[in-house]
Amino acid sequence: MVRVKSRYLLCEIHVSDPSKLLLLEDRAITAAVKDAVTSAHGDYGAAQCSIGFSVKYVNAHTGILFLRCPKSSYRLIWSALPFITSVERKGRRISCFLSCLHVGGTIRTCQKFLIRYNTQQLHRMLPKCKTQEEKDQVRRAILSSSTYMLKGKEHKEERD
């Protein structure tokens, strides 16, 4: 039995007002993506989008989301993503845009990439910190993320 292959798009959501980021949830994003695909590719696109498409994970704090698409039509869905300008939630419009960071075959590879990406973001954050307390916090976060990566490597070596 061959497993069903799909592609996972790791996207970052950018909003103008960071406080509105917490309003995001998966159903609103699914609706927004489906609307965009329908408007860009018509009925054919909507049909492609209805099977095997789902929003797997939303992190409202960092604005990260995983989209699962069937392997055959992920390019079609991806090409419609730039046309998303807003997400509607409870009658309120949150203007935003999605930028794709990574395309992976499994969630695991996406997670690995995301850890690396977030460490990079922490490194970018470090020079912007104003107080010593903030600096220490960011440093600790970087350390913990890198030790996590190392632990993952050790596990892998043990298994080998």
Binding site: A40, L81, P82, T85, S99, C100, Q120
Partner: protein, 266 residues
Amino acid sequence: MSLFMDLNLPFTADKKRLKTLLETAAHLGFSTVAINYFHEGQSKGKKEIPKPTPLAQLVDELPIVQGKSRPIKVLNRLTILVSDASHFRHNAAEYRAYDILAVQPTTEKLFHAACMTFDVDIICITVTERLPFFFKRAPINGARERGVMFEVCYAAAIRDSTMRRYTLTNTLALVERNKGKNIIVSSGTDKPLELRGPYDITNLAQLFGMSEVEAKDGVSSNCRSVLLHAETRKTACGIIYTVKTPNDSQPKDGPPLAKKQKTSAS
């Protein structure tokens, strides 16, 4: 990972907005951007070509590019809307202040002239309305031989669906004649929320009928050749380069820090 560029960020006097625009571009991974000054050619009541504002006045600190340790590089670009052949003056002194020079022709004759004779780096394709002419193979081949690039802006396509149709029609027509070569894709928006990431743009460009490689070239290596073409425009045959030597030879910031330390030690 290649260097991505966005050669069309319209100039806004609003400093705060420009700052967020540059920050967003840097966050998305663009390592070079060009601030675009738009000039409408007029025959009567000559309008002055705007002087580029020095970068130091616009932003205090350039943001660091995503995934790199260097700050973002910002260039100046002038776009002239040409509706008459006299609007473009060859070798005008005003053009020298800009790094990149672009024209936006409105008629077929001017498009032909822009491709064959005008000394420019970029020819903008109108995407907000239906083009009044068809692309012919001769001028497009001429432009390719001279190394002039065609530019397509995608921001209008994001805004609403009629514009999207025009963008797609005009670009599809261009790509069909051009076989996807010599095209750069840039944003052309002053709103941070209308910028898109480089990989999204390459995927969007595939909708325009370009192949994967051509689409990626559209945001990376073709932009680089625009910059190199712009460099050679300032030189004689791309060989000789003249620089005005500054008359006042007094040092600005004193000797660099490393040298200072040496002298104090000895």
